[in-house]
């Protein structure tokens, strides 16, 4: 008797979640269909392409389906250094963007709270670059710093730079471009967490004998970790696959090639589709591993 009653209530309790999970499934369906169509399909296509072999007696750019995993070995041998360079540049640019963005976000999100007008203007200034195409802005920097621009001539005339100094084509220029382009992606998430930062914690920290610098490292910084994690991810991931800044047409040169450039030239110039696909897959895999380790280490799995 007692058991029967118990079983009955258990069923009644179960019924509700099952019903709501059905609704959840219906709501999720468009998103799942979208992912299947636009993410899964290209991914499968890409994996298949990366394993293709050149067609026997075929033309350049003609490939057949195969299981040529040697494509990956070849790509690692040829582009290993490019990979390292990509992640190196992306890492430095992410750090630089963080160092520049944090004070901006702190100012807008905490210091300017009392003046909503200043807060709004500052936010608009952060977002404003988005109104102009990313390509145009990067080209503008190229013009500003090209070898025969007046900026460079002036710097040379003032002996700040040596007579045959270059800016474009150097790693510095590429990292500069990446940093510049991703600053809004870093600033906005950090701003969002700092804007919600409860300053009473900072007061409590001061009350407990922490000087302002200690308060920053022990309280403010840990409490803004969610923003820092999303900001660095939003910067690092696209920056490591970027092919605009490092391209010779923009701020880069032959010695600053990143994986993005290698993929682009393989796909579009030398028509080695399997190599390009293998590069893409590897880029994705490496980023996934890096991000997983990073999120795990920063202990904010539940915050993003």
């Amino acid at each position: 008797m007692a058991f029967a009653a118990f079983a009955n209530t258990a069923q009644a309790v179960d019924a509700a979640p099952r019903k709501s999970s059905k609704i959840a499934l219906v709501l999720l369906a468009p998103g799942l269909a979208y992912l299947a169509l636009f993410f899964l399909t290209p991914l499968v296509a890409l994996i298949l392409t990366s394993l293709q072999a050149p067609a026997l007696y075929g033309d350049m750019g003609e490939y057949v389906y195969a299981f040529r995993w040697e494509n990956y070995v070849a790509v690692v041998n040829e582009y290993g250094e490019t990979f390292l360079r990509s992640f190196g540049y992306a890492l430095i640019a992410t750090m630089a963007a963080l160092l520049i963005s944090y004070p901006i976000a702190y100012f807008i999100g905490v210091r300017a709270r009392k003046w909503p007008a200043i807060q709004a203007i500052a936010l608009i200034l952060v977002i404003a670059p988005f109104f102009i195409s990313f390509l145009l802005r990067t080209l503008a920097w190229k013009q500003i710093f090209s070898d025969d621009s007046w900026t460079m001539e002036t710097l040379k005339a003032l002996s700040i730079l040596g007579p045959d100094a270059h800016f474009t084509g150097t790693p510095f220029a590429v990292i500069f471009g990446l940093t510049y382009n991703f600053i809004p992606f870093m600033t906005l998430p950090i701003y969002t967490t700092l804007e919600r930062l409860d300053t009473r914690y900072l007061e409590a920290s001061g009350d407990l004998y922490a000087r302002p610098s200690t308060t920053f490292f022990k309280v403010t910084l840990p409490l803004s970790m969610p923003g820092i994690v999303s900001g660095t991810l939003l910067t690092f991931i696209p920056a490591s696959g970027d092919y605009i800044n490092a391209s010779g047409d923009f701020l880069g040169g032959p010695s600053t090639q990143m994986v993005g450039n290698a993929i682009q030239s393989n796909f579009l110039v030398i028509l080695q589709y399997p190599a390009a696909a293998a590069l893409s897959i590897m880029l994705m895999a490496v980023i996934l591993v890096i991000v997983a380790i990073y999120v795990k280490r920063s202990g904010t799995e539940d915050l993003i």
Partner: protein, 399 residues
């Protein structure tokens, strides 16, 4: 603040002419206050009267518009909060959400480089009976538990001056009594100075050596709890600290040690020593428990004030005592507390009664009657309860 050591003893606190203005609002006006070292001082007042602002000024979280703050004789007005030998139990607790309870409690000790910080933090947690949750995050605790952690986090530093902003507000009655005793014990044991802010008059009166009643950014009256209760100097104190019956009338006679008022034809006598003003229109009062109810007309001793011809309007039983509201024509409603010496109330609604009290129990307040008359004790919890009960019974009748 010397690092690595605890305060040897409490320090005294002195506020000199403190004024705090927020844009368009004066929160504290010309406040002078001296709290001797080692005392337990309670700042009592209704919500919004400036208690938290006063504590924030002392803690260094807010800068005074005017005036000076001295702790242990040293001018700290221009010191930052982290340099002041003061800790605060915040009304909002402000426990760091990214740290465990233990890390929260050890935070101040670490900052000052005190040895065995973790062991001392555990001791403080044992004191507030929360050592078993030392490794949890504050969000995983109940409001009352968080409040006790906040208490431990401040007390563990043994500051020369401890500021408590309604530190027991979220606790249930039993725990509150227990924490009151603990706090008192810590304070006496170490000889720290406590500045305790509360809106609970009972808490202020049972714990503090000195109580200051604050209203609208000013201190209305300050003194030992009993002194404040027995001889309130303003209508606000008389009504906020317990309940009072107040009457306003013209002084019609005066002897060497008493004044006599005419209140709607009744003569009310008050000792001069207990009255702030001796001539003209004066407001006097008496506490409800000092009154005696009589059902038969009887002759009274010379030392009594008597009001006759009252109608009992309301009787409410509250265990130890019964509260009667007696309505007198032209005088108004008078509240009487009578101890329940027998079963049930002595009189019922509608009964005609008289009340009397020893003239030595009356007091005269210093407010001008125009102000006293306008004062509505809307902050008094007892009067709110009565009003609510009236509203409820009116509703029931209407239904």
């Amino acid at each position: 603040m010397a690092t690595g050591t605890f305060a040897e003893s409490g320090a005294d606190l002195e506020l000199v002419g403190i004024t705090k203005r927020f844009p368009g609002f004066t929160a504290i006006e010309n406040l002078d206050l001296f709290i001797p070292a080692g005392s337990f001082f309670a700042l009592l007042g209704p919500s919004g009267c400036g208690k938290t602002t006063t504590l924030r000024l002392v803690a260094g979280l807010e800068e005074p518009t005017e005036g000076k703050i001295l702790i242990g004789g040293k001018d700290v007005t221009n010191m930052k909060s982290y340099q002041r030998p003061v800790n605060t139990v915040f009304q909002s607790y402000a426990l760091f959400p990214h740290m465990t309870v233990l890390e929260n409690v050890a935070f101040g000790l670490h900052r000052r480089g005190i040895k065995d910080a973790v062991a001392k933090a555990h001791e403080a947690l044992i004191l507030v009976e929360l050592d078993h949750v030392a490794n949890r995050k504050p969000q995983q605790l109940s409001g009352g538990q968080q409040q006790r952690v906040a208490l431990a986090r401040a007390v563990v530093n043994r500051p020369a001056l401890l500021l408590l902003d309604e530190p027991l507000g979220a606790l249930d009655l039993k725990l509150r009594r227990q924490m009151q005793l603990e706090l008192k014990a810590i304070q006496t044991e170490v000889g720290l100075t406590f500045l305790h802010v509360t809106h609970d008059q009972e808490e202020a009166m049972t714990m503090a050596d000195t109580v200051a009643v604050m209203n609208k950014g000013r201190i209305e009256q300050m003194g030992a709890p009993q002194e404040l209760y027995e001889l309130p100097r303003t209508a606000f104190v008389a009504s906020f600290l317990g309940q009072s019956n107040l009457f306003t009338g013209q002084v019609v006679a005066s002897t060497s040690d008493t004044i006599s008022l005419d209140i709607a034809g009744n003569h009310i006598v008050v000792p001069k020593a207990r009255a702030a003003r001796h001539t003209g229109l004066v407001t006097v009062g008496v506490r409800p428990e000092k009154l005696t109810l009589h059902t038969e007309t009887q002759t009274h001793d010379a030392g009594q004030n008597v009001l006759t011809g009252g109608v009992v309007k309301d009787v409410s039983f509250s265990g130890v005592s019964t509260q009667y509201i007696v309505s007198f024509p032209d005088v108004g409603d008078i509240v009487v507390f009578a101890q329940n010496m027998v079963f049930g109330p002595v009189v019922h609604e509608g009964a005609i009664v008289s009340v009397s009290w020893n003239i030595e129990r009356g007091f005269g307040i210093e407010d001008h009657p125009e102000q006293a008359g306008k004062f509505v004790p809307d902050d008094n919890t007892a009067s709110i309860a009565v009003a609510q009960r009236k509203a409820l019974s009116a509703e029931l009748e209407g239904a």
